[in-house]
């Protein structure tokens, strides 16, 4: 019985979060009309996300590309033509590894930062102060962060894809007798322009889940420093799980029709 009660409480709490998150999004959207407030702040946030995350995103993607290429070479040597390595590297990076790895890294880097920043502002009454001054926390704090993420995370994903493919190309040439022509032929053989759009669409959804959940958690922080820590952890864990769920759902919806 206590297990049932615990499950019931968990479900109710989950539903309550869904309701509050929906209200949070609608409330934040109302601040969109205050362009002169959020525009300059969005530019600062976009620069912070882009410049601050570029190196780590490209580095991790480069390693993912290299490992994909080397493992493909190891598994298929002698059984299938070498050009297939090009196909697998490009498809794996652009369809899956580029957007998902970038999103998971940024859930930790950007999501944690936003949740901690806003959580600290909540517990030190800075958000209340903003409201008391008749100003909208949505246009000052939420919209700039969410829009900056929606612009910069897909852009970083494109760069991560390029980094992963280039690194895979260089790595496979170092260990297998694959020529540039083989790799390019393989890369183009199964290539569909939709794959690039799909990668960016996924990144866009991931960006939404990272930024909105981080801002929501930060805004709902309670109980001082401990609460800030809890909000930050919850934001990273929730957005990471949501990224994986969205990855599956979007693959089903956009690729398996």
């Amino acid at each position: 019985m206590s297990l049932l009660a615990a499950l019931g409480r968990w479900v109710l709490e989950g539903l309550s979060h869904v309701g509050r998150l929906s209200y949070f999004i609608v409330d934040a959207a109302r601040g969109l009309s205050e362009v002169r407030i959020w525009w300059p702040r969005m530019m600062i946030e976009a620069w912070n996300i882009g410049a601050g995350s570029l190196f780590i995103v490209m580095l991790i993607s480069a390693f993912a590309g290299a490992v994909t290429a080397l493992q493909t070479g190891y598994q298929f040597t002698g059984s299938i033509p070498y050009y297939v390595v090009g196909t697998l590297v490009v498809s794996s990076i652009i369809l899956e590894l580029g957007p998902v790895l970038t999103a998971l890294i940024l859930a930790g880097r950007i999501g944690a930062r936003y949740a901690a920043e806003l959580g600290t502002m909540r517990v030190t009454e800075q958000i209340d102060a903003l409201e008391s001054l008749g100003r909208s926390p949505a246009s000052h704090l939420v919209i700039p962060r969410v829009l900056a993420g929606l612009i910069m995370i897909p852009a970083l994903t494109v760069l991560a894809n390029l980094s992963g493919v280039l690194s895979g190309w260089i790595s496979v040439k170092a260990v297998l007798p694959v020529t540039d022509a083989d790799f390019i032929y393989g890369a183009q053989y199964y290539w569909r322009p939709w794959d690039a759009y799909y990668s960016i669409i996924k990144a866009f959804f991931f960006a939404g889940s990272i930024t909105v959940i981080a801002c929501y958690m930060g805004f709902n922080t309670q109980q001082g420093a401990e609460g800030v820590g809890r909000s930050t952890t919850t934001a990273v864990v929730t957005s990471s799980v949501l990224i994986l769920v969205l990855d599956t759902v979007l693959t089903r919806l956009l690729l398996n029709q």
Binding site: R30, M121, Q126, D128, L130, S132, G134, R135
Partner: protein, 250 residues
């Protein structure tokens, strides 16, 4: 005029305010006293609409605050200055930008010359040096942060000033400076003020009238003289620790 009628607020099972009636008349300064954790700050946040009551009404200048729509609430708040307990200054902004946010009239906010002049005036009013303007909150002492918080609250030339524990956490010298500042601003700016405090000495110094909140209820409202003459055990108990104080004795 601020009127709270039968205000009731609970967080979960914990009842914080229980049918509270409270009134602040035009031009007066009322100190709301009470031990820590009795709901003084919660009451203050109801006045500005940061917290909505479970039942009861908050009427300010004839308007029911909990029924105001988003834009109306924003407009209403532009006439109220709120001084937060720890200043609640924005860490990422310097003093100039923090105080500038207090200029709630958008035309004036966009006029850089007006802002410079107004911010310099507010900084002078709270006894800070002009050099403070360039500093960030992390570079200021606790007392200075509170004064910047007050400067931000008065920058928009509000009709009402709400102070949440303006002297808590300060040494007696700094607490006296802030009390003096509250008193002086009330006279110079002619605002209506509510000062939430558990500092009896400070309350008697700044307020025209006092109210004591205990266990979610207003125990007594009256002038300092009426408080000193009160036989209510809760009032006596609360004032007792400061009875030997020369300020009160006078």
């Amino acid at each position: 005029m601020i009127e709270l009628q039968a205000l009731h607020k609970a967080f979960g099972k914990q009842v914080v305010l229980e049918r509270v009636d409270f009134e602040v008349r035009e031009g007066e300064t009322v100190a709301l006293m009470g031990p820590s954790g009795t709901g003084k700050s919660v009451l203050l946040k109801h006045i500005i609409g940061l917290i909505k009551p479970d039942s009861g009404t908050v009427i300010v200048d004839g308007k029911d605050v909990s029924k105001l729509k988003r834009r109306e609430l924003s407009e209403f708040r532009s006439h109220i200055g709120y001084v937060f307990q720890n200043g609640a200054l924005f860490d990422s902004m310097n003093v100039f930008e923090n105080v500038r946010l207090g200029i709630t009239d958008q035309e004036k906010y966009s006029d850089v010359d007006y802002c410079r002049q107004r911010i310099a005036e507010c900084i002078r009013l709270v006894n800070l040096t002009p050099e403070t303007i360039e500093k960030y909150p992390a570079q200021l002492s606790g007392g200075m942060r509170k004064r910047v918080g007050i400067a931000r609250a008065i920058a928009g030339q509000p009709k009402y000033l709400l102070y949440d524990e303006p002297t808590s956490g300060l040494d007696p010298v700094n607490a006296d400076i802030i009390d003096g500042l509250v008193q002086r601003l009330d006279h110079e700016l002619g605002v209506t003020s509510v000062v939430v405090t558990h500092d009896v000495r400070g309350a008697f110094r700044v307020a025209d009238r006092l109210a004591l909140l205990s266990e979610g209820r207003i125990v007594m409202q009256g002038t300092p003289k009426e408080f000193l003459a009160s036989t209510n055990p809760k009032v006596k108990e609360f004032l007792e620790r400061d009875f030997d104080n020369p300020t009160l004795a006078a």
